[in-house]
Amino acid sequence: MSILINEHTRVLIQGITGAEGTRACKEALRYGTLVVAGVTPGKGGQTVEGVPVYNSVKEAQTQHKDINTSLIVVPAKFALDAALEAIEASIPLVVILTEHITTQNSARIMAHAKAKNVRVVGPSSVGIISPGKGKIGSIGMTTSEIFTPGNIGILSKSGGMTSEIALALTRCGFGQSTAVGIGADIILGSDFADLLKLFAQDEETKAVVLFGEVGGTYEESAAEYIQGGFTKPVVALVAGAFADALPQETTLGHAGAIVSQGKGSYASKIQALREAGVHIAQTTEDIPKILHTLL
């Protein structure tokens, strides 16, 4: 098992003819993930890496009834329309790689997704990889060997840190069940808690590593969910201790990394996670050391 992505994933790429889309297509195919169709309005009839391109999601869906995942890589200004098209088509998993979508448009996307019972991952996701089974997005792009099959789930706000953590795990003999870049915007489609619920059901996953950052309350929500009865061990690495000394409302490396006092601060996140029984790592190399004591 794994979560979200596996051998049965059939991908539609929205924005497939753009540079990012073509790269995403090549990468997924290289990893053996089936990209069955692409969409770029006005470019129907073309092919990218042998994958047929359609003008709309509906058209692609008519030809490829097995599509179960859409990967959105369109520029930010087209992302709302692209996401609404995928949601309207009830594609059960919509993964948004696009960065710089306005918070307002993200809120609109999530409102529509909720009404249609569609799961959204992202925006600003680096992608999802279930090592050995499939991957979508820029995750582990030229470095797939750093992701190896195994029993550790990774949920990360940062794309780079997803790989850095996988590397530390792989080098110490811990493979991964699924690694998900959840993004670090103010509004996320799937947060830590949402995906921990999936890891709870996934027999292959024995422990989960979280990479969090200052800003927002997703780490606090994760702590609340874990305290409510998530029984697998969780190790968390949270970045931004230095930011607690910065003026409030300063935005750091990600849109959602907004310096705040109280809830949202580094201190608040660490305290909430500790109280929930989560093991706190200070560095990436701490993570496998902690896992060794737990598994």
């Binding site: 930010a76 960065e99 710089h100 306005t102 918070t103 307002q104 809120a107 609109r108 999530m110 409102a111 529509h112 680096v126 820029s138 792009m141 030229t142 470095t143 750093i146 990360s156 706000k157 940062s158 794309g159 780079g160 840190m161 997803t162 790989s163 850095e164 590397l167 670090a184 103010i186 509004i187 996320l188 990479f211 950052e213 200052v214 927002g216 309350t217 929500s221 690495l237 970045a239 931004g240 201790a241 230095f242 930011a243 000394a245 910065l246 003026p247 409030q248 409302e249 300063t250 935005t251 750091l252 490396g253 990600h254 849109a255 959602g256 990394a257 200070q282 560095t283 990436t284 190399e285």
Partner: protein, 362 residues
């Protein structure tokens, strides 16, 4: 530590915010923006308010009440040029003092918890809001009369003011949506004998409304320049550097596979400050950022800085084309650059220790 030059770039000043209020039909007090102690409005009593971005300007002496007209000039001069949390006061809003019957708090923002907009209300506005009552607003619907009425009742606003406050809430909602704001707040909202008046304006516009692509640099007090790569990794790098005993001179970050030119310009900006003892170029294992391209930008930047940086430059990078990139920097050592190159064979944390050991030799 002291920080300078830090602010949210898209946070509007009160004056800018109030201009938006006027545009959307929200009443504001009679006011004039002044930046010189000349041609002053002759109103009394009035309030002088420093136009800075700090949310704590009252506490830091940025708001003065003037009872008599003849005191305006004198008090104004104490404000102009004053430093409030790292920001120098360049203009002051002179505003007629409002006789308020009540002061309320209304605010629209986004909540990560409900993943949509929330309305916060309190009947005790002004400084030091007690518990505000929050209601989630369905973004596809907006603030209807029914939603406003329910929220106002729950927050215990007076019944007789409901209609008037609802009108302000609906105007503020239109502003919030049309201006692509992250925060639109009126605190205090004055109740006066002739209607509701916005006493202050806090508006933050979404950076992504018109993304500039400009990389921001947060200046700090230390002496190790930081060129970090990756939104999340950059923060972890700062933590590691400080934990190892390093004093960062700045925080900045580049990610998303930028062209060499972007890294070059950032390098020049970050390293063109005197008194540096080291430069830390670090990031997580890159998924798709071209290490050769980005480190070419670093090298081009280094070549343009005068005097030539001779302090240690510790690089910890890995990912696509790392070997080519390191060969290039290795070659450039002959130009006099003191590079120390590390791949992912050492951790980000250990590379921070390497940086500190070289920047502050015993």
């Amino acid at each position: 530590m002291r920080y300078s030059g830090v602010r949210t770039p898209m946070k509007l000043t009160e004056h800018e915010g109030k201009k938006l209020f006027q545009h959307y039909g929200i009443e504001t007090p009679k006011s004039a923006l002044v930046s010189l102690p000349q041609n002053l409005p002759q109103w009394g009593p009035c309030v002088l308010k420093a136009q800075v971005h700090s949310g704590d300007r009252f506490k830091h002496g940025g708001i003065l009440i003037v009872e008599k007209v003849e005191q305006i000039q004198e008090k104004l001069q104490t404000l102009l040029g004053k430093n409030i949390q790292g920001e120098v006061v360049e203009s002051v809003l002179v505003e007629e003092k409002v006789e308020a019957l009540a002061q309320w708090y209304i605010s629209l923002s986004y909540s990560s918890e409900i993943r949509g907009p929330v309305l916060s209300l309190s009947t005790s506005g002004g400084t030091g809001i007690a518990q505000a009552h929050t209601t989630s607003i369905p973004i596809l619907v907006g603030i209807t009369k029914e939603i406003a009425q329910r929220a106002l009742d729950e927050a215990q606003f007076p019944q007789e003011d409901s209609a008037a406050v609802t009108e302000v809430l609906q105007k503020l909602w239109t502003l919030f949506i049309d201006e692509c704001a992250l925060v639109a707040e009126i605190n205090p909202l004055f109740k006066t004998t002739h209607g509701l008046v916005a006493g202050d304006a806090k508006i933050i516009i979404d950076d992504d409304k018109n993304p500039s692509g400009e990389r921001r640099i947060i200046a700090m007090d230390g002496d190790i320049a930081v060129l970090a790569s990756g939104g999340g990794a950059s923060m972890l790098i700062m933590d590691a550097l400080i934990r190892a005993g390093g004093k960062p001179a700045n925080y900045t970050e580049y990610s998303g596979n930028p062209p060499a030119q972007v890294v070059k310009e950032l390098t020049i900006k970050v390293l063109s400050r005197p008194g540096l003892k080291g430069c830390f170029v670090a990031g997580a294992f890159a998924n798709f950022t071209d290490i050769y391209v980005t480190l070419s930008g670093l090298l081009e930047g280094l070549r343009e800085i005068t005097p030539k940086p001779t302090y240690p430059i510790v690089v910890r990078r890995d990912g696509p084309r790392k070997d080519e990139a390191f060969a290039m920097l290795e070659q450039a050592k002959t130009e006099g650059f003191d590079f120390h190159l590390f791949g992912s064979d050492i951790s980000m944390n250990d590379s921070a220790k390497e940086m500190v050991a070289r920047a502050y030799p015993v």
